[in-house]
Subunit: 340 residues, 2 copies
């Protein structure tokens, strides 16, 4: 491997001149710069990462901790890890992957050894040990997701409240007055970050604000939609609009569950998915949606982290990114004035 010294010799300049010519941190004459660049190209020179990191005190690596336990849906988290990696490359950073048991220990290790300049935390739980850790170490950390206690943490997440309000607005604009929410399976509420709660709260609040009755149902398993559907129509027989924000599996079966009740989408019922992560590997949900798209939150999180690393950050506590409405034709005008 060619070193900076080889380049310097080949170009007939000093080592520091090569460094400055390559980094642009001091002005170097055009002609010298050309000679350096040519010599570097000819030798196939690439600065040794470890030497650069040692001297500059910067590894240009960010760690990504994603527990990726067997019980979580890895599809979604992988999409985030991938999107973080892509965003990081756009800022000239590489990403170190920390999974499972090593998500926490690895975060500690990579920070203590200065292996990484900063860390992105994925798959954030309500009470997350990594939140504790982030407060105690002197090392930039950004969370994608919001833990219960955000004191002193930089977090990025979808604006779920916005997604809910927009969903309701859209249904109301189409004449719907009897609107229900299918929320997450109760067990999710305990483990996951707090967004399922935020969603339900905002749904109830905003519906009430609009003078409408908030109906909320939960699936009884992690793949079955029928129970939630029947629960909805038990509570409010005239329902014509459904906002769904639950496990992908449940949502996939929603159309079938409605059909089983003799209802079709969107003729009888309009459906909008709010704050759900699109399944990458298969047919996307066939509903109008305000998805939690990794491509939305990850670049923002990486930008904040890089700013933090470079010491240029305002570092807001929590940054909420508004989702984008995607129409798939599952919202139609409420046909007839539905009986109360």
């Amino acid at each position: 491997m060619a070193t900076i010294e080889d380049v310097a010799r080949n170009a007939g300049v000093s080592i520091s001149t090569v460094s400055y010519a390559l980094s642009g941190k001091r002005s170097i004459s055009e002609t010298t710069k050309r000679r350096v660049l040519d010599a570097a190209a000819e030798l196939g020179y690439a600065p040794r990462a470890s030497a650069k990191a040692l001297a500059a005190n910067r590894s240009d690596i960010i760690a990504v901790t994603a527990p990726l336990h067997p019980d979580t849906d890895p599809t979604a988290h992988m999409a985030f890890a991938m999107e973080v990696t892509i965003s990081a490359r756009g800022r000239d950073f590489d990403t170190l992957l920390l999974v499972q048991d090593d998500a926490l220990a690895g975060m500690k290790r990579s920070a203590a050894s200065a292996l990484a300049d900063g860390t992105i935390v994925l798959d954030v739980a309500a009470h997350d040990a990594r939140a504790e850790l982030a407060r105690t170490i002197d090392h930039p950390v950004v969370f994608i997701g919001v833990p219960d206690d955000t004191e002193g943490l930089a977090c990025v997440d979808l604006d779920f409240e916005f997604a809910i309000r927009t969903s309701i607005d859209e249904l109301v604009a189409n004449g719907h007055r009897h609107i229900a929410l299918i929320g997450h399976h109760p067990s999710t509420l305990e483990r996951e970050a707090n967004y399922p709660l935020r969603i339900e709260r905002e749904f109830k609040r905003y519906m009430t604000e609009l003078g409408l009755t908030p109906v909320v149902a939960h699936p009884t398993t992690d793949h079955d939609a029928t129970s939630a559907v029947s629960e909805i129509f038990r509570q409010q027989p005239g329902t014509t609009g459904i906002v769904v924000s639950t496990a992908n599996q449940v949502a996939m079966n929603l159309t079938a569950a409605l059909n089983a009740e003799g209802l079709s989408v969107p003729a009888d019922v309009s459906v909008i998915a709010a704050g759900m992560t699109p399944a990458m590997s298969r047919t996307p949900l066939p509903f109008d949606a305000l998805p939690l798209d990794p491509a939305l939150t990850c670049p923002v999180a990486v930008d904040i982290l890089v700013d933090l690393i470079q010491g240029v950050a305002p570092a807001q506590e929590v940054t909420l990114v508004p989702p984008v409405y995607q129409s798939r034709g599952t919202v139609a005008p409420a046909s007839a004035p539905t009986p109360a």
Copy 2:
């Protein structure tokens, strides 16, 4: 951050003694070692990764290139990336994630800058640019998957031939004589590594060797099983055993497709899935299986790579790992002697 010098001062020994006490590369008296360890613990000392890498010429990082294009199933590849990461940690390596456009460029970059000590290549295509690259750079590389031209490459893969033979053996042992294979969708053959070919070839060869008629069908889409099923029974009406090795989506619909023909599993037809990657996020395939489990191939690949890095490698060209039979009750004895 505490440095090795701080530890040395605190322990009252020289820097080199600390280094040797910590690495164990030279003998150090028990008492001295204790003092060093105590001092290190007290200071919360962690060696700076970049300094270590520069001096030792080893980063203890391996790169993982996984294109993860939107059109591939990221679930499976994520499982591999995760398993590689876990295996690497077991050998005290961290993993750098390289995706999409950067899979190739990043591999070049991380090798040229000595960012990584070696590279694991995932999602190997038949004609893979990374195979070319691996031959030209002086940098250990191990492929998980087998490209067409393995000249000079270290590859690890499932022993698909073994999976096929074992599947057939199992069906034959249960009295089945009319056995068919559901292979991959034709388009997969072109893009993917050569395992779909290897599977079909071995199926035909081994069936013929046993004096049986090899029947092979392909799905016409990437999610529909009915076409393949009807094709099978068109070719061989008395089929009682099916070996399936195709897209997960297709396999998920196989039971339904058989039911539609009035056949039930395993009463009328026995089914074994051979060489398929288990879907992590959802219900696993409900068939007896010889799965391509990442936990099987990844540790082997990482071991080979680490050996290669440490210069202790026999570096076989291609290492095939035998799958493990998993019974789920979808193989039953052939009820009646089937008509030819």
